[in-house]
Structures are given as structure tokens and as C-alpha cells.
Symmetry: C2
């Protein structure tokens, strides 16, 4: 089958490149450690010319051969590549955001190969405490187009900065951010908690569960600034081994995240039962969230696949980038 | 006046030495960067002998001349010097803890000078989530003996690991810990928040207050894992300058700490009004907590002075270390 689109998920630390065929089917995928904060620096010839631009070098490393083989294939990219520090800034679009609104706001940068790279804008929510995303909007669009009715769903995107997104009538209408992943790393690597921890390489489900239960218990009411200290004191009193502590802390923080979220969701919804949850992201991390969400009373939690590729495919289609192709999905 | 006690407040990063006269009056004070994690390493002669032991070297640097001038003066020390990594471990005493119980559990190490250093034990609370302190118990005792009736007070000790202590009938009965100070440092130095921050050297009261108000607002219900991200987005949208961001984050975290605390205190007390608060610690940090506590509804907040010196004095007295002196306070 002929390739129809090159889709790039270009974040801070990594660059994933997808070669998509008809209906957005993934024909090939590559992952490079070429995020916008760690671009290549070794000069190379691209399209016959010496090149030292990090974005060009990363782009060429990720899909130069695909472009050679498919010279007129369109290219679309989402993520931090569209930030002020990216290849070309694609200014935030405000909520509510639809596929149509985002697809008409793509920013284009012409590479030295003469290929246009179409960059998806991020989304900003101008609430009292503003909220921003870059990349997640594309994943949410991917889920919206692979699942029929999302009006009563909450879409969760666990990660360094977890996002929780509400969609309504085909629009991304509201979202919240939690810095749980990044604060977990900072707490384990740069506070006293790290001193007694030991990484085991194996997930300790019981330690994780214990952390979740503490977050949801009356003791958890003091919040994560307080309960975190228990990782130390349960260690001091021999109740948590050094290898159990990292997963306990992970359970604590994820437990506090989903517990605060569920409290606010319950308030927003009044008498309505809790919504179904669709998770997007790293499978192992999503499984942790799934456990914590169920402990918190969310009965219907599922995992979405290929959200990024699907989102980029549908954005490219809506933007009219796929008009040369024969078959579309 | 003759000196009657050498009192050491010996923590992880610093060592404070006090020369106390009658009634615990401070005659001299020194602060050295010789905490138990950064002891001196340069060998020196002490009492005519070559010495390389870091504890001995720090002890001699802090008060060798005082000991030369007062050969039979007693010495007492509190803080991490009594931990497993300290000079001599003084095992935790369990709550409830009184002056008497702690004063009869001092551990003694004989220095190369032949001087006994009496080390105050820390306190452990064997609750579901255990809690520990080392040094703060001495400060609490200092306040208990300088203020007549503390039965309806909450004693706060802001710091890297803030403690909130309840005393009853002369006993330290319950305490909670918040890692606010250490998590503040980790968030500012080791997460994305630090990238847009700039230190100004001047306290920005309005930015701090804004952070406190966010923590106490409905937006604050999502908890610190979520509200922290607003330091970034308020910066992105031009609502917080780089120099305002550190004090905003400080207000946010301290606001979340006192708001969680007040929620739990209100629950514990039922209909009773909020207790008076006595703060012990660094004056500038205590002023931040004072502002946040008042915003949270605590009307009576005062600052205690010389809690450590007073606590060490009363412990030494209760332990019978001052029996050679003429006048006691």
C-alpha cells in the first residue's frame, strides 16, 4: 500500500515518526531521542547542502529515507515542536477547540528539502488559572474520532504533566493539569526520600496500592505535602523496604491526583454518576492510573490505542493535506 | 556572670552553640556550617592529641575555647547529632513525651577532651503513618516552659519539614509533618517551574498572597499537584513576572499546607473555635506562615523566641546537669 502521510509526535525529549497508509494505518514507526531540547548537533548534508540546523537534522534522521521514497507525501507534526522554543511557533488556540478549528490553524515551516511540515497548535484555556497543552489536543482528537460518543467521558493523559480533558459535542471544552510525574521524579531524586529508596526494576503492586489507599484514607486529608513524609517514616520503622518505597510514593501521588480529581468531578456533576474514563499514554503508567481510579470509584476505565497517529491523521485530513491520496479512512 | 551550660543545636547542615548563664540567659552564640552531613575533615590537635574525627573537630571549633575557660561546664545537644548518622544515637522516645521522660533518656558521648556531651532523643509517634522529629521536641519544650498554658495551642515549626505539634498537660501528644520546604526547593530547582523563575532577593508580598489565595480558593481543591502548574501558565500569559514566580509558588505551597491543616484541625475539634498558634523558627519564614494562617482563619498567631536555648536549658536542669550552679532559672 502506498504511504499517505508522515506524522510526527515531536516532544521535549523524544521524536516519534509514523509512516501512515490508507485510513491512517501505521506502516512504519521510529522513536528517536531527538526532542526539541536535545536536537542533533553534528552537521550533515541534506538535499545536497551542508546543514547544522538541529530541527532539520532531526527531521532528516527521523524520516529522510521515507521522504526520498515518497517525495510528495505530506508531513504533519504535533507537540513542543510548535512551542516558542520549537521549529516554528504555532500559537495556542483557545478552548473550546474542535478538529476543524485546530486543522485550520496549522503553521507551516518549509524544510531545506523543500518539504512543508505542518505544525498543530496547542490549546490554551483562559480560566482563572490558565491551562495549556501541546500534543495532548491531538491525542484527544484521535480518541474522539475512534470512539463514537464521548459526551460523558473524561479523557486522562497521564505523564510528567497529566491532563484530564472533558469533551462535548466534538469540542475539547475543559482540562486540568497535574504535575504528578515531574514532582514524583523531583521528590525521589532531589529530596530526603531518595536517600532510603532503591530501584528494583519490578513493579511492586502491593506497595503502590498501599500508597493509593493512604491518599484516599482520612490520613490522606493532610494532602501530599504531608503524606509524602510517610515514605520515610514507614521505612524508618521497617514497614517499607527500600525497594518498596518508589512504588509506594508513586501510589501516594497518583492516589492524591485521582482523589482530588474525583472530588472536583463529583462537585461539577452533582447527582450524576461518575463518568467513564479513557486513558491515553504509556501502558504501564496507564495501568497504575487504572488501579488508582478504580480504588477511587471510577468503574469504567479503558485504554485508548494509537491516539496520536489517529489524531494527526484526522487533522491532516481535515486540513486537506491528504487530497492526493486514493483511499482515506 | 558565670557560664552554666553549653547548649548545642546540631542539625544536618548547621551547628549552633550557645553559652548560657543563670536562668538560661544567652551569653554568647555561634553558628557554624558544621552540620552532621558536612563535618570538618582537616586533622587538628585536641587536648594534646591529633584528631581526625569530624564530630570532635566540629565540637572543638564550636566551643573549645568556652570549655577551656569553663572546664567543668555541662554540655547538652539536640538535633540530628542524636540520629543513627550522628555522634551517638539517642533512640526516639514515643509520644506522649514530657520534659521528664526526655530528660531521663539523654545519651552521653565522652569527647576526647574528657567532656560528656548529653544528647537529647528525638520523638516518634506510632500512628498509622508514623511521624518523627529530632530537635523540634526541644523547641516545643522551650515554648512549654516559657508560656503558662498551652493546652489549647497548636505549635508550628516551619522549615524543610514543617511540624505541627499539639501539647496537653505538659506532654507533646501529637504531631504532623509537611515536607513543604523541601518540596518547594525541589519544585523550583528541579522541575519546569524553575526555568522561567528569577530570584529577586526581595520578598514579593502580593505574589505570595496570590499563591495563598489560590490554594484557599475553589481552584485550590485540585491540590498542590495541580495548582503548581499555574506558576507556569500565569507566567506564559504575562500574569506573573519571572521574579514574582518564586514567591507565588511559596504562597501556593504554604497555603495548601495551612489549608489542609486547618481542615483537619476543624474536624478534630468539632464545634470548638480554632486554636491559638505559636510559631517557632526563622523569622522571615514564620512571617509567611503567619500571613497564610490568618488568611485561613487562625486569628491568634504569635512567634516564640529562643525556644531551642530554653528547651535545652530546661532539659539540662531536669536531667540534673546544672546541680553545680548557684542560680537557676
Amino acid at each position: 500500500m502506498q504511504a499517505q502521510l508522515i506524522a510526527l509526535d515531536w516532544g521535549t525529549t523524544s521524536l516519534r515518526a509514523y509512516l501512515l497508509g490508507p485510513a491512517g494505518h501505521v506502516q512504519n514507526m521510529r522513536s528517536l531521542a531527538c526532542g526539541i531540547m536535545q536536537l542533533p548537533t553534528t552537521a550533515r548534508h541534506i538535499a545536497g547542502q551542508p546543514c547544522i540546523d538541529g530541527f532539520e537534522l532531526a527531521f532528516d534522521a527521523a524520516c529522510g529515507d521515507w521522504l526520498d521514497a515518497n517525495p510528495s507525501i505530506p508531513v504533519i507534526a504535533c507537540g513542543m515542536v510548535g512551542s516558542a522554543q520549537g521549529w516554528r511557533e504555532a500559537p495556542y488556540r483557545t478552548t473550546p477547540s474542535s478538529l476543524k478549528a485546530l486543522s485550520t490553524a496549522l503553521q507551516t515551516v518549509r524544510s531545506v528539502r523543500g518539504v512543508d511540515v505542518h505544525i498543530v497548535p496547542g490549546v490554551i484555556q483562559h480560566s482563572t488559572l490558565p491551562n495549556v497543552m501541546r500534543g495532548e489536543e491531538t491525542q484527544v482528537l484521535g480518541v474522539m474520532h475512534s470512539q463514537p460518543n464521548l459526551n460523558d467521558c473524561l479523557i486522562g493523559l497521564p505523564g510528567s504533566h497529566s491532563k484530564w480533558v472533558q469533551v462535548q459535542d466534538g469540542c475539547l471544552v475543559h482540562f486540568d493539569t497535574f504535575m504528578t510525574g515531574e514532582l514524583y521524579a523531583a521528590a525521589c531524586e532531589h529530596t530526603i526520600l531518595g536517600r532510603t529508596q532503591q530501584q528494583s526494576g519490578q513493579f511492586d503492586g502491593a506497595a503502590f496500592e498501599r500508597g493509593v489507599q493512604v491518599a484516599l484514607s482520612p490520613d490522606g486529608q493532610l494532602g501530599p505535602l504531608s503524606t509524602l513524609f510517610s515514605a520515610r517514616t514507614l521505612g524508618l520503622t521497617g514497614q517499607l523496604t527500600p525497594t518498596q518505597q518508589p512504588d509506594y510514593v508513586s501510589g501516594l501521588l497518583i492516589g492524591h491526583e485521582v482523589s482530588a480529581l474525583s472530588r472536583v468531578v463529583r462537585q461539577r456533576r452533582g447527582d450524576k454518576p461518575l463518568p467513564a474514563i479513557i486513558l491515553i499514554g504509556n501502558a504501564q503508567l496507564c495501568q497504575r492510573y487504572q488501579r488508582a481510579l478504580r480504588a477511587c470509584g471510577f468503574a469504567d476505565v479503558s485504554l485508548a490505542e494509537q491516539a496520536t497517529e489517529q489524531g494527526l491523521w484526522h487533522l491532516a485530513k481535515a486540513a486537506g493535506l491528504l487530497h492526493h491520496t486514493q483511499t482515506e479512512g
